[in-house]
């Protein structure tokens, strides 16, 4: 099983969720994060004191997926989150050793 972690532009979250549910993904976990990268933040001015906000608000989604779904998932996220503008974000794929559903005690693929 793989853990897919994607950093997205916040307003793309709904589209990505829709795309994922089309490939059969029912669950995911979402976190509000601050992104630093090529995309620049903005400047705020408070009574003439400049305040450079160098982070950009981003959304991080984490999805545990069966290996056979991985490519579809990556494809779904990529196409739904794509705007072509800087700051579209990244996807990281990592291995998961074990998954457990607390409610039922099911493990691994059954637990996803």
């Amino acid at each position: 099983m793989k853990l897919v972690t994607a950093i997205l532009k916040p307003f793309k979250l709904d589209d990505v969720r829709d795309a994922l549910s089309e490939v059969g993904i029912r669950g995911m976990t979402v976190t509000e994060v601050k992104g630093f990268g090529r995309q620049k933040g903005h400047t705020e001015l408070y009574r003439g004191a400049e305040y450079v906000v160098d982070f950009v608000p981003k959304i991080k989604i984490e999805i545990g997926v069966r290996e056979d779904l991985l490519d579809q998932v990556l494809e779904a996220i990529t196409s739904a989150a794509h705007t072509g503008k800087i700051g579209d974000g990244k996807i990281f794929v990592q291995n998961i050793d074990q998954v457990l559903r607390i409610r039922t005690g099911e493990i691994d693929e059954d637990a996803l």
Binding site: L45, R47, G48, A49, E50, V52
Partner: protein, 441 residues
């Protein structure tokens, strides 16, 4: 000396000026006790008192609290609150008496002791056309808000006990004498100084103290490189808008009557606030490309602070002028103090109140003249002579306030330590001094 000659002539002419209404008649003018209080005037001053308390808490507290980082919001709220409480008790104990009762042979410098602990005060006691109790309350709110203004200068780094000691010392040693001089039939009043609602007594006085305090306590860690954006402009806005409303009590209430003078003071106050706001906004729009909420609100406060000395003395067109000058000069002062001098007067108290109070108090000396639509100069006064008196009052107040502030801060530093240590500053004053956090969302 020319001044001592003026003193005598002014003392006569001044009786025709509404500044006189500030002076309570106890002790030396029993005649005024004959007429019973006017219920309409009383109603308006009761209302104004509520409005000025509203300015101190919640308005000023929210304005200041919104402008600091989230870890210090409660400390600002607490400062304003405890100052209101402690100043009220000091006013009861001695403040009122020392400002407004007859000081006998010392009258030029300080009032007397006949109302220590407000002794002898009853519901029947009168002060001019008002029940004395409401005059005391109205003036109390001024004494409460003035030291609270200063806390913006040393925000986010002063120890709580130091703040409390300093504020109360400053109230007694700076506010009380200056208020007596200008409003309590002291020497400046006798010279004919014009300060309708506190341009000098409140704004110059607190503004200069703020500058000195900011210099003595030093900059916050990271200032000016590290940005310290307001944690909630929504909160600051709420406070600012409330300040505007409350200021109607501050300025129009200072007529001490519900009459044309109060009405005109409200109108001039309002127009100056609007002009100050628009001018500040316009400058930002041109200079930075975008007008900001904090900017327009600050311009409004600048307009209000600046019109304070003049409110009941000038006409509406003059008020628009005063407000516009306020917006421009306080904007410029803010940039200069913060970005050029790098003084960390954290919430720009000097730039707004000190500069605004000074500019407004000077302009009062000009625009009071009837050719500018004002109520007219006192008999025998010219614009030149009036300006001289205004300038004298400003300079003396600034010097006095500055010296008192310096001395007190040095003393308080010895007694309890003025400033938190670096770790406490990083942690934030809310946890360090009050073991509370502003929000648990």
């Amino acid at each position: 000396m020319i001044l001592s000659i003026q003193l005598r002539t002014k003392f006569q002419s001044l009786r025709s000026l509404s500044a006189l209404v500030f002076f309570t008649a106890i002790a030396w003018s029993p005649a005024s006790l004959a007429a019973p209080p006017d219920s309409g005037d009383t109603a308006w001053v009761l209302t104004s008192t509520a409005l000025v308390l509203f300015m101190a808490i919640p308005a000023l507290a929210l304005f200041y609290g919104g402008l600091v980082r989230v870890k210090n919001v409660l400390s600002l709220l607490m400062h304003c609150f405890v100052i209101v409480c402690a100043a009220s008790i000091l006013w009861f104990i001695a403040g009122y008496s020392l400002v407004f009762t007859d000081g006998g042979s010392q009258q030029a410098w300080i009032g007397g002791f006949s109302r220590i602990f407000l002794r002898g005060l009853t519901a029947q006691s009168q002060s001019g056309k008002l029940p004395e109790a409401v005059f005391i309350m109205f003036q109390l709110t001024f004494a409460a808000i003035t030291p609270a203004l200063i806390v913006g200068a040393f925000a986010e780094r002063m120890r709580f006990s130091a703040m409390l000691l300093f504020s109360m010392g400053w109230l007694l040693l700076a506010y009380v004498p200056v208020a007596h001089w200008v409003w309590g039939n002291g020497w400046l009043m006798q010279l004919g100084v014009l300060d309708f609602a506190g341009g000098i007594v409140v704004h110059v006085n607190a503004g200069v103290a703020s500058l000195v305090a900011a210099l003595v306590i030093g900059r916050r860690q990271g200032f000016p490189q590290k940005p310290m954006p307001p944690h909630s402009l929504v909160l600051a806005y709420t406070g600012a808008a409330m300040l505007w409303v409350g200021w109607f009590g501050f300025n129009a209430g200072s007529a001490l009557a519900a009459n044309g003078s109060a009405a005109m003071a409200m109108l001039t106050t309002h127009l100056a606030a609007a002009s100050g706001a628009l001018v500040w906004m316009a400058i930002e729009w041109v200079k930075f490309g975008k007008p900001s909420v904090l900017g327009i609100a600050t311009g409004m406060v600048a307009g209000l602070g600046t019109i304070t000395a003049a409110a009941g003395y000038v006409g509406p067109a003059a008020a628009v002028g005063i407000g516009s000058v306020a917006g421009a000069s306080c904007f410029w002062a803010t940039q200069y103090i913060k970005n050029i001098l790098h003084v960390d007067d954290s919430l720009d108290v000097f730039s707004v109140h000190g500069v605004g109070g000074t500019v407004g108090s000077l302009l009062t000396g000009i625009l009071v003249a009837s050719q500018f639509g004002g109520v007219g100069l006192a008999e025998g006064a010219t614009i030149g002579s009036q300006l001289m008196v205004q300038a004298l009052a400003i300079v003396v107040t600034a010097l006095w306030s500055g010296l008192v502030t310096l001395g007190l801060l040095k003393l308080v530093d010895r007694l309890v330590g003025l400033r938190v240590n670096a770790e406490e500053e990083t942690e934030g004053l809310d946890i360090v001094f009050h073991e509370e956090r502003g929000y648990n969302l």
